[in-house]
Point group: C2
Chain length 154, copies 2
DNA sequence: TTAAAACCTCAACCAAAGTTGAGGTAAAGT
DNA sequence: ACTTTACCTCAACTTTGGTTGAGGTTTTAA
């Protein structure tokens, strides 16, 4: 059922992306192919997993550059095993956890602050019109600090 | 403490953004200013809240265009009240909830699929090398569908 | 065997969200 | 008064993640 080699068109269709995107990814060093006699790209089936991972990573807000770095930990000469992928994805699980935690924090702020009467509150992380904190670089910047704390690993 | 009018430089410093960003936002219609006698921008203090909201929105993955549309619901002729902001932020709370739910789903996939042995599973939404589902346009596309379901409001 | 579909390269283009720089004016500090 | 800092406009540039098109070759299907 699963064939040994794939053409660009088949991969593209299968993954729901454009052929041009495959060219683009190859150019960026995210996927690899070899050529047949007529100079057309051929892929090993594991390219499908790579693309799936790229797409999942993008949904987490991970850039292609970061994906590339993560891919660098995969073996070069052999098809990655389950363990290889597992190892690679562990960082991302943590990142995702942080992202989720951050979103929850943001939700709290959104519920409690944007629509609240806190225009006079000095502690509101979304809006603090009192200049006493601003001089220390606080004000709306607090949220940024929270993000940096949470996403430090990146 | 809170002054009645603000200059670009003060707003920028206070919000931790560049002056050029303020110009940019004004150009996009996200904030407004008037000019003094020397053609310099002056802001009402509520510009701070606007910028805070823009920044919070961006952290949720909301584009400036979408922020602009949301701002369109705010009153034009008077400074927005607490209720105005509350109303505006309600949609975003739902969006954020969806985003969080989606992230949790993604985490589940990440834990269960990327690093699993599911290369032969037909139900894996991240990677399904068996062509039976692919012919129906499923495979890695499933994740997209999940996203669309979850984010339909956008 | 011939037409259509798929593929190739390379360069140019797109959108979002800004940033940078040039050339000049206004305001503030000493 | 003068010098530094802040401000102005406008155009061009940057990055990310691709897409589009021109001009030409290869594969596939009838």
């Amino acid at each position: 059922m699963t064939e040994a080699t794939w053409s660009v068109g088949r991969v593209a269709k299968r993954c729901g992306i454009n052929v041009s995107t495959l060219h683009f990814y190859e150019n960026k060093g995210l996927i690899k192919s070899w050529r047949n006699d007529g100079n057309q790209r051929r892929y090993k089936p594991d390219v499908l997993r790579r693309i799936s991972v790229i797409k999942a990573a993008q949904k987490m807000g991970i850039s292609l550059e970061e994906v590339k770095q993560a891919f660098a930990s995969l073996p070069d000469n052999r098809t990655p095993t389950v363990e290889d992928w597992q190892l690679m994805s562990q960082n991302w699980q943590q990142l995702l956890d942080s992202r989720i935690a951050y979103m929850l924090k943001l939700r709290e702020y959104l519920t409690g602050c944007i629509g609240c009467g806190c225009l006079s509150m000095t502690k509101c992380p979304l809006y603090n019109p009192d200049d006493t904190l601003a001089s220390q670089g606080s004000g709306p910047v607090l949220l940024e600090q929270a993000e940096q704390k949470v996403l430090k690993r990146r």
